[in-house]
């Protein structure tokens, strides 16, 4: 089955430090592909390069054949590349419902003039945004907190809100940056089921960066391992787990 995302030979430098050197990363259509590696391996940097938050020194990023390399983040987002953040970036000055409606920003087809003059396009757009938002909240199980201020939610529920917001953007490709960080085992298990449901029920292609091995091994169709900015292994969960280089990278085996 064709690869939805092809990030090939992506290099990123911060001053003299080569955060990423010629990293390749592909995500097959409708699958969950994980990206793992020790801290500082360049996982988040690769995500930032894919979403355009960081300028790649070289290499290209193609989504379903379309070259996104030069585009700024918001145009990539409009092409369907949506991500969540390692340290929660919620809109705390808005309600839960409004947060998710903002997620659907790119799908609403009315401009400012329509909003000012309250043209029919505005009413249709807002109704649509409300429907999308409520449906996504239901999907993640936060319907009863729709009107609560986003800032007041407990941490676990804020994570779910960020997932709902990403879902509302109708992602072609969803990049999850350590979604399980700070969650307890029960919440992590529920998160795993939620991601699997997104893939199965909504056909969302997911790219996952995560340290929690049970979660990664449990739901990933394919795993890529990064170490010091370089891809050192790729394959099904079982294969990658036994790969000596991966073990060394993690457990710091003594290179002779």
């Amino acid at each position: 089955m064709a690869d939805l995302l092809q990030a090939s030979a992506v290099s990123v430098r911060f001053g003299g430090v080569a955060a990423l050197s010629e990293a390749d990363f592909t995500v097959p259509q409708g699958r969950i592909a994980s990206l793992i590696g020790p801290n500082g391996a360049g996982k988040t940097t690769l995500f930032n390069a894919i979403t355009g938050m960081v300028a790649a020194a070289s290499g290209s990023v193609r989504l379903a054949g379309r070259d996104l390399t030069g585009l700024p983040p918001h145009l990539r987002a409009r092409a369907g590349v949506v991500r969540t953040f390692q340290n929660l970036q919620l809109f705390t000055n808005m309600s839960v419902l409004e947060n998710v409606m903002t997620g659907a920003h790119r799908r609403l087809g009315y401009g400012v003039l329509a909003a000012v003059l309250k043209l029919p396009a505005y009413w249709r757009g807002e109704r649509e945004a409300g429907a999308i938002a409520r449906e996504c909240l239901a999907f993640v199980g936060l319907s009863d907190l729709a009107d609560a201020p986003a800032g007041d939610l407990p941490y676990g529920k804020q994570r779910l809100l960020e997932m709902a917001r990403a879902l509302a953007a109708d992602p072609v490709l969803l990049l999850l940056d350590e979604p399980a960080a700070g969650l307890n085992p029960r919440e992590t298990k529920a998160l795993g089921q939620l991601i699997r449901r997104m893939r199965d029920e909504r056909g969302v292609t997911v790219a996952l960066v995560e340290h929690d091995m049970d979660l990664v091994m449990g739901i990933s169709d394919e795993i890529t391992v990064l170490s010091f900015g370089r891809v050192i292994a790729r394959g099904a969960p079982g294969e990658v787990q036994q790969n000596p280089e991966v073990v060394a990278a993690y457990l710091g085996g003594g290179e002779e």
Binding site: H74, F91, T92, M94, E98, H105, Y110, A115, A169
Partner: protein
């Protein structure tokens, strides 16, 4: 749903403004109300920029000045009728904001404050020094009063009614912007710019839009000010006036649509009440700023809302007790 509430709120506000002159002891206070409305127009625009989009501007008095001078010059030197001159002045101010906005809005925090402050000072120096064009430090006279389709607004009361209507319409327009996709995008930029970017919000474009919109509102208030005073001078658009607009927004309650109006009228009327203690007015003004930031962090509107909430809570508790 939200729209009907906005409509009734703005309508009620307009009725309140129109009845005010008749409640006041004598019609001297109309000029205070006129200056209050003009200040509110700029403050509401600035509130959208600071309170909602989280971008600071320490040079907004310059946009008020641009609107005033553009409209004043068009009607005196170029002999335009007043209405098209005002419309063109607002457009010019918006264009100037758009131009200076492109490089400035890439900055944030203290740097953005400094850039807008520098821009404000440059504009006020040009007003002061370009003597042949702007009439220099003592300004220029002879700006005609506003006249629309033959009806001349030459009495203060008629001009006040026009301003009250314009302010109510501006509030409705800004409420509609806030309660829409664009409004949510602005608020998103305020708290999590990176996340907004990844939700498809063109952050640079949205900032430029809100900066130009708020500058246009300031330009409109400047033009209407010039045609009220029939005179314009650089001393009304200096750095201290930019600071005063900021204080109106923050004192009124940032991010609260009605806060800016409350702050604008309060600060315009305040010196009138402080007139009795002439010399200590500066001290009182500074003191009020400090104390309000300490005890009313969400501003007057925030404070009132909390008060109103507590009153309602007590009343509901009372009913529950009785019911």
């Amino acid at each position: 749903m939200g729209f009907s509430r906005d409509l009734s709120a703005c309508g009620g506000f307009l009725v309140l403004l129109l009845t005010l002159p008749h409640l006041l002891a004598n019609d001297y206070y109309i000029s205070v109300l006129i200056l209050g409305c003009l200040a509110a127009m700029t403050a509401v625009g600035l509130n959208l920029l600071i309170g909602f989009a989280g971008q600071i501007s320490l040079g907004h008095a310059a946009f008020v000045g641009l609107g005033a001078y553009a409209s004043g010059l068009l009607t005196t030197l170029a002999g335009w009728p007043v209405l098209p001159a005002i419309v063109c002045a607002v457009a010019l101010t918006g264009a100037a904001a758009w131009l200076i906005g492109i490089p400035t809005l890439k900055l944030s925090g203290h740097y953005l404050a400094m850039a807008t402050l520098g821009f404000g000072i440059i504009v006020s120096i040009v007003f002061n020094e370009a003597v042949d064009l702007t009439g220099g430090p003592s300004g220029f006279v002879g700006i005609p009063r506003l006249e629309i389709f033959g009806f001349a607004f030459d009495t203060d009361l008629s001009y006040y009614r026009l301003l009250a209507a314009l302010l109510a319409v501006q509030m409705l327009v800004f409420q509609n912007v806030i309660r829409s996709r664009a409004g949510r995008a602005l608020r998103a930029i305020h708290t999590a710019e990176a996340a907004a970017r990844c939700m498809g919000v063109d952050v640079a474009g949205a900032k430029l839009f809100v900066f130009t919109l708020s500058a246009g509102a300031a330009g409109l208030s400047g033009a209407l000010y010039a045609h009220y005073l029939e005179f314009v001078a650089p001393s009304s658009f200096g750095f201290l006036h930019s600071v005063q607009y900021i204080v109106m927004v923050v004192l009124g309650g940032m991010g609260n649509a009605w806060g800016a109006i409350l702050g604008a009228f309060f600060l315009t009327a305040l010196p009138e009440f402080l007139r009795a203690f002439e010399d200590v007015e500066t001290v009182l003004y500074g003191g009020i700023l400090i104390l309000s930031m300490m005890f009313l962090p969400e501003g007057l509107a925030g404070g009132l809302a909390k008060l109103w909430g507590r009153v309602r809570a007590k009343r509901d508790a009372g009913e529950a007790g009785r019911g």
